[in-house]
């Protein structure tokens, strides 16, 4: 057929109708089965994102049964003493908390041109929460990592449809032994919810969300990077800039690790009509393992930039909220842009860095507004 005729179900279900997903309030529904939910950017007005407003990214089906008392975490591979830990045993280990901005590597994918396949995230596959649980290194040290141990693999309890490869990834041993890498059991002070990996998930701070495996069931120390779909060809980035639309050979890519520098405008909203006078432009900025140094705002197409005020709340891996008092000189249409710079000297680019899977979109953000 020639065009996308409205389906009968669309007729039966008007687009404005909401879908009930318990515990997930007002989220943008990218997929219900399996669950993928995006936060509207207007939610980015608190330093810690409430769990019902925190994005959900699943690669496959959530575990159909999660029994806290029967759950066990195995730790093996290149270790002296393989372990099995219950939730009660995990809870007896020293707890550490990290406020971390978690972002899906594909956040912003829908803004890439040409378009690329995958969940078509807008700007909201990102959120910040306080994650708590034992340090991964404490568990690894209890098991005794052998000198041959170079990478640490995580396997979750995701239920795999068809012949889809299981969601298994690994991180280098150095990051696994970092004092801030956790086996997280809590999020914002409460036990993890089902959508966020109950009863335990890896928390690899500053790195792409896919590193922080949910519904953790197995930790395995390996002598090399895990070989599997979600390490290659998945979650890899070209070594050199790519012309938009071009193919990239696997050998010319590397695994994604830390997040890029990025800012998002959470208000005013795109296409808003504003009254003349003072307008507070606000949003969030983050930089993975680096710190945000400044956020600049332009209302004249990037000809001039002013410094935004950074919020008080800060932590090493967490975003900074920012705000800027803008006084438009006259009525009219404006494009407001935000541009973040981090402690590694990275600045958001004016144009997206295109790549075949649409990872790490971090172009200067913008909204169009009308001042009446």
């Amino acid at each position: 057929m020639a065009g996308a005729a409205p389906s009968m179900l669309t007729w039966a279900l008007p687009q404005g109708q909401t879908v009930s997903v318990p515990g997930e309030d007002g989220m943008i529904l990218r997929s219900f089965r399996f669950v993928d939910l995006e936060s509207p950017v207007e939610y980015f007005n608190s330093w810690l994102t409430p769990v019902p407003h925190f994005f959900v990214r699943n690669h496959m089906h959530e575990p159909s049964e999660l029994d806290a008392s029967g759950w066990r975490l195995s730790l093996g591979g290149e270790v002296e003493k393989p372990l099995t830990l219950s939730l009660a045993e995990l809870s007896k280990m020293e707890t550490h908390s990290i406020v971390n901005t978690l972002e899906c590597a594909g956040n912003g994918r829908s803004l890439q041109r040409p378009q690329v396949p995958g969940i078509q995230w807008g700007k909201g596959a990102v959120g910040t929460a306080r994650f708590s649980g034992p340090r991964l290194r404490d568990a690894l040290r209890r098991a005794g990592v052998k000198p041959t141990g170079k990478h640490v693999m995580f396997r979750g309890l995701d239920e795999v449809p068809g012949k889809v490869p299981p969601f298994i990834r690994s991180i280098p041993i150095e990051k696994a032994l970092d004092a801030d890498t956790l086996i997280a059991t809590h999020m914002n002070g409460s036990p993890l919810t089902r959508h966020h990996g109950f009863p335990a998930r890896a928390l690899v701070p500053g790195w792409i969300g896919a590193a922080s495996c949910k519904w953790l069931a197995e930790i395995k120390v390996l002598d090399a990077e895990f070989v599997g779909n979600f390490m290659s060809p998945g979650y890899r980035f070209p070594n050199q800039p790519v012309k938009p639309g071009d193919a990239v050979k696997p050998e010319d890519t590397h695994p994604l690790t830390a997040l890029s520098v990025k800012s998002v405008i959470s208000g005013p909203s795109d296409d808003a009509t504003l009254k003349a006078g003072k307008v507070v432009v606000h949003g969030a900025a983050w930089a993975g393992e680096a710190d945000i140094v400044k956020v600049e705002i332009s209302a004249d197409g990037g000809a001039t930039w002013d410094i935004a005020k950074l919020g008080h709340d800060q932590a090493h891996y967490a975003w900074r909220l920012w705000s800027y008092d803008w006084k438009p000189a006259k009525a009219g249409d404006y494009t407001i842009q935000s541009r973040a710079t981090d402690s590694q000297g990275r600045t958001q680019p004016a144009t997206p860095v295109w790549n075949p899977s649409g990872y790490l979109y971090n172009a200067i953000d913008q909204v169009n507004v009308h001042v009446s």
């Binding site: 057929m1 020639a2 065009g3 996308a4 005729a5 409205p6 389906s7 009968m8 179900l9 669309t10 007729w11 039966a12 279900l13 687009q15 404005g16 109708q17 909401t18 879908v19 009930s20 997903v21 997930e24 309030d25 007002g26 989220m27 943008i28 529904l29 990218r30 997929s31 219900f32 089965r33 399996f34 939910l37 995006e38 509207p40 019902p52 089906h61 159909s64 829908s110 040409p114 378009q115 690329v116 396949p117 969940i119 078509q120 807008g122 239920e159 795999v160 449809p161 068809g162 012949k163 889809v164 490869p165 795109d270 296409d271």
Partner: protein
């Protein structure tokens, strides 16, 4: 875990897609929603009205059985891809277990790339219900 579509669901789906009369099809579809939400088998607690559907066309039924066994239609509805990109996706998903008869491959790629090409308007996702207020359709 991965479950097969029920025989009842397949029969009703065939019935729905074979009818040319829109009103009859809509009634059958609504009956299907209320009686046999076969697409919601993995989410038993979910209400029946959570799913979307693939657009009408000669490959709708076959695309439904090939693709929606593992994921729902929204995953497809939101894509805007070239024919080359759809070809890669169909071949990847076939490798991952989507049941596509070799004779149907090109027609399936035609169906997907004509309905979900880069020139089509952007997909407008729904919102989840907000317990503190009414939901909106996002832009």
């Amino acid at each position: 875990m991965f479950r097969k579509m029920s025989a009842n669901g397949k029969r009703l789906l065939k019935k729905v897609t074979a009818k040319s009369d829109m009103a009859v099809s809509a009634i059958a579809l609504l009956a299907l929603i209320s009686v046999s939400p076969f697409w919601a088998l993995d989410q038993k607690a979910a209400p029946a009205n959570v799913t979307a559907d693939l657009p009408a066309g000669p490959m709708q039924a076959k695309a439904t059985t090939a693709c929606l066994e593992c994921h729902e239609a929204r995953i497809i509805l939101q894509q805007r891809l070239s024919r080359g990109a759809w070809t890669k996706e169909v071949d990847k998903m076939t490798k991952w277990g989507a049941v596509v008869d070799g004779a149907d491959r090109d027609a399936l790629i035609d169906y997907l790339s004509s309905n979900f090409s880069p020139d089509k308007p952007a997909y407008g996702p729904q919102r989840t219900t907000d317990k503190n207020g009414s939901g909106r359709t996002s832009k």
